[in-house]
Subunit: 228 residues, 2 copies
Amino acid sequence: MAANAGAGAEAGADVTSPRERYRAQVRSDIKARAWDQIARSGATGLSLNAIAKELGMSGPALYRYFGSRDELITELIRDAYRSLADTFRAAAESGAGLEGLARALRRWALDDPQRYFLVYGTPVPGYHAPDDITTIAREIMAALLDVCASAGLEAPAPASASFTAHLSQHRQWAAGHPAPPGVLRKALAFWTRMHGVLSLELAGHFTGMGFDPERLFDAEVAELTPGR
Amino acid sequence: MAANAGAGAEAGADVTSPRERYRAQVRSDIKARAWDQIARSGATGLSLNAIAKELGMSGPALYRYFGSRDELITELIRDAYRSLADTFRAAAESGAGLEGLARALRRWALDDPQRYFLVYGTPVPGYHAPDDITTIAREIMAALLDVCASAGLEAPAPASASFTAHLSQHRQWAAGHPAPPGVLRKALAFWTRMHGVLSLELAGHFTGMGFDPERLFDAEVAELTPGR
DNA sequence: TGTACATCAGTGAACGCGCGTTCACTGATGTAC
DNA sequence: TGTACATCAGTGAACGCGCGTTCACTGATGTAC
């Protein structure tokens, strides 16, 4: 009757009926088990029947909560994007600088590597994320741009005049953001360098090399940070 | 009787019997189809039966050539590492500078994104690559170090004194390489920055943003390159 | 407060599928004398 | 050159498995009067 709680309402709204609260509870149980499974065997290993068994229900029961396996995975992906966007926005609004944003990103990534990979890992050929996920992705970039803009250009990432021109002419991703090309360049440098360290680290490509990845991460941040 | 041709002998040695040449041919056919399948649906979608069908053979026939599905995948991974190591070594020996190495890496990655992801993408939890693959990985880093060392430190990647000290004390990965810490730092910066751009680009995270990823890649290279 | 009805979570059986892998076999190719 | 034997690529049937998903159903919970 009333508007359905809808996707991702685990937070629990105000005046929910017992049935609605129960539904939300089970939905979130299912998702929790799904994340467990992903952590154990990757996103491909996710099985509805196995989740049901862990929850002590029969397989078909899950279809009361998710239309299909794909729908469940899509919602996990959405939640992952959402959590990073929230993390970024919170950091940006609390006045964190680039180091703060970097630290938040690193914590988010290390906190749950499989969640990181669900967003930034190997894409499944043929899979296209629904539009609203793209919207969240833009939200993430917007928070990054905000922080870069207020950090200013005291420690700029160098760019040739031609690349600078290119950026100022191709700024769809910064739609509505007044940042000058130097800030765009800096945001991109920040973004790619953080992911460079994180993706290699989380995939285990630094194991056995000896050094501490965190110090490498910090060094990369320092290079983009004013009061180094 | 004579030593078996062994793994990855598609290149075709000298005095092979017709049977050995046939075996090598079929092995390479199987791998080719496997790569096709991976390109179409990712490494998880690789199916022995499907490969057999495409080759017009029955499923069990493949077991004459590979002991199991895992063995086939491991060999594809090994080939992927091998091809990058060869690419790097060739570039290093032909006297290419850092830009040359970067271009080679980028070409290698764009040439077959799924091959790139097989090496640098989301790891399968629980999978451990055999030792010889680790050896190839070290070979890749060695070639990178060679090029960085001969490029010198005219455009150094900045590092705090403490990080420099850390690197000179944790250089297992550069075992046997006389490069000073500044060169180590530069090699790591090169490595992570290139992968930062490439992994985001190949995973499609730049689509719709407007700018040309290649120019971003070039800008990142330029920053690490002397005669910019 | 009690009765009649609607909603809806969950079950169990079943479907069809494709998977990796084994096994005993056939028949062609190569080798030894 | 021909015969006897060994090697080995490939087949077809079969096994057991777990998967996603559908369907008709039971029984508990909530709602209306």
